[in-house]
C-alpha cells in the first residue's frame, strides 16, 4: 500500500491521527497532518483506509 497526503488540502481535523496514529501525525505549528510512513505494513492498512475515508478534506489517497 502506498499512501499520499495532500497537505495543501488538509484542514487539520486530526481524524487521520485518531484512525491511524502509526501512520499520521499533526504538525505543532498549525495542526496540518504529516505522513510518518507512506508504505505502511499490511496490519495498518485497514486503519489507513479508514483515515482516508473519514478525512473531511479528502486529502488522503491510497494506492493498493
Amino acid at each position: 500500500m502506498k499512501v499520499n497526503l495532500d497537505q495543501d488540502k488538509c484542514v487539520a481535523s486530526g481524524q487521520c491521527v485518531v484512525a491511524a496514529m502509526e501512520v499520521f501525525d499533526q504538525r505543532d505549528e498549525d495542526g496540518i497532518a504529516v505522513l510518518l510512513n507512506d508504505s505502511p505494513p499490511a496490519d495498518q492498512a485497514d486503519d489507513v483506509r479508514h483515515a482516508a475515508t473519514v478525512c473531511p478534506a479528502l486529502a488522503i489517497t491510497v494506492e493498493e
Partner: protein, 406 residues
C-alpha cells in the same frame, strides 16, 4: 415531485413530523429531485441539494463561494441583515483562498488530536460539576439547560481566556448572533456592539498580560507569511469561535441525549460497552435530522450538478443532514448503528471550510457522553420522545428542552 422546474418552490426549512425525525420529503427529494427549488425564510429562492455526493462535491468545490453578499445571492433570514451568514464577521475574516488558509492554520494548531487528548480531562471535570449540580436539584431536570448549554460556553470562554463570571454574557451574545427570527434587529445590533466592545478591551488586556489561552497566543503569533492578526481580526476570530462553538455543540449535546434515550436500548448498549462512545458520537452526528438549515453557497457561473444545470447567480443550500441519510452512501442509512465505522458523515461539512472546531466538538460530545454513562446509567427521558419539541428561529437546529430522570 417537480420542485426543480416551473412548479411552486418548497418552503424551507422543511417541517418534520417529530422533533427527532427527518422530513418525509427528504427520501423523495434525494431520489427524484436532488436539486430542488426552495423558498428561504427571507422569501428569496435557493436550490436545495440532498444527495451525499452532490453536497460533498459542492462543499469542497471553491467555485461555490461562501460570499453571500453578491447582489443576486439569496438572503437566508428574515431580518434586515439576513442573520449570521450575511453578518460582519464574514466581512472581517478572510473567506477564501490562501488568505483564508493562513488565518485558519493559525487557529487549527489549537485543535490537534494531541491537544484534544490533553484537554479532555478538564472538559470531563466541567461536565462532572454540571452533572453534580443537576443531581443536587433532583429529577426531573432539563439536560439541555443543566449541561448542554453551559458546557460549550465554558469551554470556549476558557479557550478565549475569558473570566468565569462573564460566561452568561457570552451565552446571551452567542444566542443573538445566530438569530433568524427570535431577536429583533435592534437586539442583534446591541449584542454585536457589546460583544465587540468587550472583546476589544479583552484583546488589549491579553496583549498587555498574556495568559495560556488561544487569544493570548494569537495576539503575538505570526502566520505562515510572518503577518500578525490586526485587532479587528482578533475580535472577529473570537466571535467566530463563539458563534461556531457554542450553540452548535450545546444543541448537539441535547440532541445526542434525546436520540440515545428515545430508544433506550441504545443507551443500555452504551452503558454495557463504553468503548462504543467514539463511534456512537459519530453516528449521532450522522443521524441528527434536526441539524439546522445547512450550508449556503453561491455560484457565480453556470455549472452542471445533480443532473441539471444551475445558472450563474444560484444560491445553493447544502442539506448535510439529508445527505447523511443517503442510502447510496450509508448502508441502512435510516437505522442508527452505534458501532458504524467508518462513518464519513457530513455533519461538519467537507473541504477547505469544514468545521474548524470539529475535533473540539467531538471531544466535548465524547466527554459528556462518557460522564453521563458513568454517573447516570439509569438516565431516561421524562417525557415520551414524541413530546420533544424543536427550537425555532435559529440557524442551528436543536431541541427546546430534554427532560430527564435517573
Amino acid at each position: 415531485m417537480e420542485h426543480g422546474d416551473g412548479r411552486q418552490a418548497l418552503s424551507y426549512p422543511i417541517p418534520s413530523p417529530a422533533a427527532l425525525e427527518p422530513p418525509v420529503e427528504w427520501a423523495d427529494l434525494r431520489r427524484e429531485c436532488p436539486a430542488a427549488r426552495v423558498t428561504l425564510p427571507s422569501g428569496d429562492e435557493a436550490t436545495l441539494l440532498t444527495r451525499y455526493a452532490d453536497v460533498r462535491k459542492v462543499l469542497s468545490d471553491p467555485r461555490f463561494s461562501r460570499r453571500l453578499n453578491a447582489e443576486d445571492a439569496a438572503r437566508i433570514g428574515d431580518s434586515e441583515s439576513g442573520g449570521v451568514f450575511n453578518g460582519e464577521i464574514s466581512e472581517t475574516l478572510p473567506q477564501t483562498g490562501e488568505e483564508h488558509q493562513r488565518w485558519r492554520r493559525m487557529i487549527t494548531k489549537w485543535f490537534t488530536a494531541r491537544r484534544m487528548a490533553a484537554l479532555r480531562p478538564a472538559i470531563e471535570t466541567m461536565a462532572e460539576r454540571l452533572v453534580d449540580e443537576m443531581v443536587e436539584h433532583g429529577p426531573p431536570a432539563d439536560l439541555k439547560a443543566s449541561l448542554g448549554f453551559p458546557l460549550p460556553v465554558w469551554v470556549i470562554c476558557d479557550l478565549l481566556g475569558v473570566d468565569d463570571a462573564d460566561r452568561d454574557r457570552f451565552a446571551y451574545w452567542s444566542d443573538t448572533f445566530l438569530n433568524l427570527t427570535r431577536y429583533t434587529d435592534e437586539q442583534v445590533a446591541a449584542a454585536q456592539a457589546e460583544f465587540v466592545e468587550y472583546m476589544t478591551a479583552h484583546v488589549t488586556a491579553k496583549r498587555a498580560d498574556p495568559g495560556e489561552d488561544l487569544l493570548s497566543e494569537l495576539t503575538t503569533a505570526t502566520d505562515a507569511r510572518g503577518g500578525r492578526m490586526p485587532d479587528a481580526v482578533l475580535v472577529a476570530t473570537g466571535q467566530a469561535l463563539l458563534v461556531a462553538g457554542h450553540e452548535t455543540t450545546a444543541n448537539m449535546i441535547a440532541k445526542m441525549a434525546g436520540l440515545l434515550l428515545a430508544d433506550r436500548r441504545r443507551w443500555e448498549r452504551l452503558v454495557t460497552d463504553r468503548s462504543l462512545v467514539r463511534s456512537a458520537v459519530e453516528e449521532v452526528l450522522r443521524f441528527d435530522a434536526n441539524a439546522g438549515i445547512g450550508m449556503p453557497r453561491y455560484i457565480g457561473e453556470e455549472v452542471e450538478l445533480a443532473g441539471t444545470v444551475l445558472p450563474g447567480g444560484t444560491t445553493v443550500m447544502c442539506g448535510m443532514a439529508a445527505a447523511n441519510r443517503d442510502e447510496s452512501a450509508f448502508d441502512d442509512a435510516d437505522r442508527m448503528d452505534l458501532a458504524r465505522s467508518p462513518n464519513p458523515h457530513l455533519a461538519f461539512g467537507s473541504g477547505a471550510h469544514s468545521c474548524l472546531g470539529q475535533a473540539l466538538a467531538r471531544t466535548e460530545l465524547q466527554a459528556v457522553l462518557d460522564v453521563l454513562l458513568r454517573r447516570l446509567p439509569s438516565l431516561r427521558l421524562a417525557v415520551p420522545p414524541a413530546e420533544l419539541r424543536r427550537i425555532e428561529g435559529l440557524a442551528v437546529g436543536g431541541l427546546r428542552e430534554v427532560p430527564v430522570r435517573w
